[in-house]
């Protein structure tokens, strides 16, 4: 069903993208996995696209295809963009990895940028954001603000990205208060406002007084607002949905990276690279700290600054796994490989990781 819809949408938009061409402009295409109206992941990527338009004005021309499902459809959509004369194509979901590489092979002159993947080639770069840095900061805030010492965490799918976020959050919380507990509910969906709201209600009913999430809609924040508990926004600043409950939000900000990459293309200096940016690269930005005392906000700012400068690393040892074994010794930092493939919980998570 969904695929059929995506195909229809892709076809229509692809045609539209193909029709509007100008000869001398640099053309940039985007492929989104969701609707830009999701107010989350795809919405933020589209912000990046708009930033390119703003920065370069008449020199560039951008187009996008939304609602592209991760499968055979993706290859067709990417190929269509490549054929219609785009010079640089951003494919913004993990599942677009292989289709992007395949198309890139057939169109060696076109440059590709794939988000959150790990396979590169001469004309394919990868980029991702270190959201866990932000999760560490909100973990600390949660520990300061919670009275029941229990945090409710609404998670999507048990992939390393999400597990890493849960671990970073708890490590942050435990750095303030070692007794902090975390309850996890997997909704097995990136996007289902109803389920996310139900999960938030269940967590609050079970005694969580702080809600955080790794799913895409503001529904959980809205529930928190109604029930009078605190919560964090996800992917974009969601303060409008929780004026009294949002403490801050981890905002994905692709603007600077996108503008830099287009600049490199215009200068003829584009090369295949791998970027994993966090606070330092401004890919991860904290929304304004709201509803919290000044000293907690100061602490959060200090932590964020320390992570940005490299002085503090959320995954610096000693870290113990859930089963009690030591993951890393004191003073050492988990390497990128372990982080990218993380499939275990740190000690203190009140949940069994689905395998």
């Amino acid at each position: 069903m969904r695929k059929l819809f995506a195909a229809a949408a892709a076809l229509a938009l692809g045609l539209a993208a193909g029709a509007a061409q100008a000869a001398d402009k640099v053309k940039i295409g985007f492929v989104y996995v969701g609707p830009i109206g999701d107010h989350g992941w795809s919405y933020q990527h589209d912000h990046g696209r708009l930033a390119i338009e703003k920065a370069f004005g008449d020199k560039v021309e951008t187009s996008y295809v939304e609602n592209v499902s991760e499968g055979p459809d993706a290859e067709r959509v990417i190929e269509k963009l490549a054929r219609s004369g785009n010079d640089l194509i951003f494919t913004t979901s993990f599942g677009f990895m292989n289709p992007t590489l395949k198309v890139a092979k057939r169109y060696p002159k076109v440059k590709f940028e794939h988000a959150t993947g790990y396979k590169r080639s001469k004309n394919v770069s990868t980029y991702a954001a270190r959201f866990y840095e932000g999760r560490y900061v909100i973990g600390q805030i949660a520990a300061k603000m919670s009275k029941t010492k229990t945090v409710g965490y609404i998670a999507s799918f048990p992939i390393p990205e999400v597990v890493r976020g849960i671990n970073a959050f708890l490590l942050g919380a435990q750095s303030i208060d070692p007794d902090m507990k975390i309850k996890v509910i997997w909704v097995n969906s990136w996007f289902d406002p109803g389920k996310e709201a139900d999960a938030a209600k269940a967590l609050i009913d079970q005694g969580a007084d702080i809600i955080t999430q790794h799913t895409d809609s503001p529904a959980a924040l809205q529930v928190a607002e109604e029930r009078g508990v605190f919560a964090f926004g996800q992917a974009s600043d969601m303060i409008k949905f929780g004026p009294k409950s949002q403490l801050t939000a981890i905002v994905d900000d692709w603007s600077e990276y996108y503008v830099n990459r287009v600049q490199a293309l215009l200068d003829g200096k584009w090369e295949s690279t791998d970027t994993w940016g966090g606070f330092a690269e401004k890919m991860v930005v904290m929304a304004p700290y709201t509803n919290i005392p000044a000293d907690v906000a100061d602490m959060a700012k200090k932590t964020a600054a320390a992570i940005e400068s490299g002085e503090l690393h959320p995954f610096k040892g000693p870290i113990f796994k859930q089963d009690g074994s030591q993951a890393i010794k004191e003073g050492e930092i988990l390497d990128a490989g372990t982080l990218l493939g993380m499939n275990w919980y740190v000690k203190g998570v009140d949940d069994k990781l689905p395998q």
């Binding site: 996890v184 996007f191 139900d198 999960a199 069994k352």
Partner: protein, 306 residues
């Protein structure tokens, strides 16, 4: 006790949209029409309800708009399948695609804006009952409406003359036509009732469940409603069991996860579907009853020959 009450309240919220949408589809299918566009009508109901309640500030106007949104979609479906006699399955699928796309366009300006919530309407006295009071008598008006509609539909289909005609049209449209009933007119009305209920279900999502608008926010609930109708073997009272069982297991599995019992979450997520299918298959195991309740002309086109 408190947690039990909280769970009950959440279960009611999770089940009501399913019940509403399924109830409409049940009447549609009883008249012999298979409308697979429930999801599309629902999402249009959601976006219309949200847009109107936000611009006017009145959630009740939003409700009306939601119903209208669903009805307009269903009339389109009726025109294509009943008047132009197009294929019902293909048209229903197209209606879903259209609804998802169109709602995204209509709702573009409303993304990222908190909406107006339909306030609960507690029934004085009864709401103070222990445990069940707030869950059953402290709810929003749409929940009461869903209960009234279910009872009303049962009465209508099985106790009223008009309901008998609807069933006759779904059972054997040739005979109904020969008896002088307007098959097309009856089916139009049934399809519109289906649209109205789906619109209400959508409005429930964007006004009560979560007062916000996001594309695709129905997230497949229209399809679940469709499946419920079949598993309930076209009987409204079984629909209540199905919808509430689904809602109950969905909510309980969240609580089980939150409590940290070590069952894989993928299995728990699948539980509502499994439990509902098993239960409904069990109560529908009498095949004679099931066959008797399946509208014989379901999905068949009707072209009156004079």
């Amino acid at each position: 006790m408190e947690i039990l009450e909280a769970i009950l309240i959440t279960i009611v919220t999770a089940s009501t949209p399913l019940l509403l949408a399924a109830l409409g589809e049940l009447v549609v299918e009883r008249s012999g029409v298979l409308n697979l566009g429930v999801e599309g009508m629902m999402i249009m109901g959601a976006v219309c309800a949200f847009a109107v309640s936000l611009t006017t500030g009145n959630p009740y106007l939003g409700l009306v708009a939601g119903m209208l949104g669903g009805v307009v979609m269903s009339i389109l479906f009726g025109f294509l399948t009943l008047t132009l006699v197009s294929n019902q399955v293909a048209t229903g699928l197209a209606l879903t695609l259209l609804g998802l796309g169109l709602s995204g366009m209509v709702g573009e300006g409303f993304v990222g804006t908190p909406g107006v919530k339909l306030a609960p309407l507690p029934i004085p006295g009864l709401v103070e009952l222990p445990v069940i009071g707030r869950a059953l008598f402290g709810q929003d008006p749409l929940f009461y409406l869903s209960v009234v509609l279910t009872i009303g539909t049962t009465w209508f289909l099985f106790k009223s003359r008009a309901g008998l005609i609807v069933r006759a049209v779904g059972e054997n449209h040739g005979s109904a036509h020969a008896l002088g009933y307007s098959v097309i007119k009856v089916r139009y009305l049934a399809v519109m009732f289906g649209g109205l209920c789906a619109g209400l279900a959508g409005a429930y999502l964007s006004l009560v469940y979560t007062s916000l608008w996001i594309e695709n926010m129905t997230a497949g609930r229209g399809w679940i409603a469709l499946a419920l109708v079949v598993f309930a073997s076209w009987l409204p009272k079984r629909l209540i069991i199905g919808a509430y069982l689904f809602g109950t297991v969905s909510i309980l599995q969240f609580h089980a996860q939150g409590a940290g019992i070590g069952i894989p979450s993928q299995l728990l997520s699948a539980l509502p579907y499994l439990a509902t299918i098993l239960a409904l298959v069990f109560i529908s195991r009498n095949r004679a009853v099931a066959r008797a309740n399946t509208p014989a002309c379901l999905g068949l086109a009707f072209v009156p020959d004079r």
